[in-house]
């Protein structure tokens, strides 16, 4: 079965810390995404990657960076965490090109920055 795994379900970090959120998929998908989910705002795209070492900014990239050194792993980096980055973070992947598939999601990481 398709699997997207996010390394942490809950994370608590201090302001100013460098934070890494990890996502691994086992489906050999080309595309991977990081979303942020906040009440009343839905899912907002932070970054996506369509190949190893390739990335594109989404709608809210400020304060974030990403890394994709291997096809199966896509990392979201908060260079200096701030309280307004407290949120739920969701990773997803899709196969592309080829028959368009629906995004497969991880279970989410709830990050609290204090």
């Amino acid at each position: 079965d398709v699997k997207v795994t996010q390394s942490s379900r809950y994370l608590v970090k201090r302001t100013g810390e460098k934070v890494f959120l990890e996502c691994v998929q086992d489906m050999d998908h080309e595309n991977m995404f990081w979303y942020r989910q906040d009440p009343g705002l839905g899912l907002r795209l932070i970054y996506f990657s369509y190949d190893v070492k390739m990335k594109e900014k989404g709608d809210i990239p400020e304060g974030y960076s990403v890394s994709r050194e291997k096809k199966e792993r896509f990392s979201l980096i908060l260079e200096s965490a701030s309280t307004n980055q407290t949120s739920m973070y969701l990773c997803a992947s899709t196969m592309f090109p080829g028959p368009p598939s629906h995004p497969h999601f991880g279970n989410g990481t709830r990050l609290t920055v204090t």
Binding site: G42, L43, M88, F96, H102, P103, F105, N107
Partner: protein, 115 residues
């Protein structure tokens, strides 16, 4: 730029009744995919149903069906015979079929099922 709008932040329905969740989108593309996702308290995003824009027939999955109106750019989800397990956040999503494969989500509708 493409946008997805869910105009109902919350809805309630009596168990065993039928409920319709609304979704509209804006795009200049002619070929694309639309999805409805369910997010229960477990936080796992679960695909409910998908619709290819080139297909005129509305998609159906058991108790879930869509009313896809391409000209009106409308994609509503109908849940028949509502069950307590249907209580969740529901998100409408849009995906292009070419180039960058960016996927855009609406803000969600929280559905309550009343016993």
């Amino acid at each position: 730029a493409q946008t997805v709008t869910q105009s109902q932040p919350e809805m309630s329905v009596q168990e065993a009744e039928t409920v319709t969740l609304s979704c509209t989108y804006d795009t200049s593309e002619s070929d694309y995919y639309l999805f409805w996702y369910k997010q229960p308290p477990s936080r796992q995003m679960i695909l409910v149903i998908r619709q290819e824009a080139y297909k005129q027939q509305n998609a159906t999955e058991n108790r879930f069906s869509v009313n896809f109106q391409k000209a009106a750019k409308s994609f509503s989800l109908k849940i028949s015979d509502s069950q307590l397990g249907d209580a969740a956040m529901y998100f409408c999503a849009y995906r292009r079929t070419v180039t960058d494969d960016k996927i855009i989500f609406g803000k969600g509708t929280r559905l309550h099922i009343l016993p």
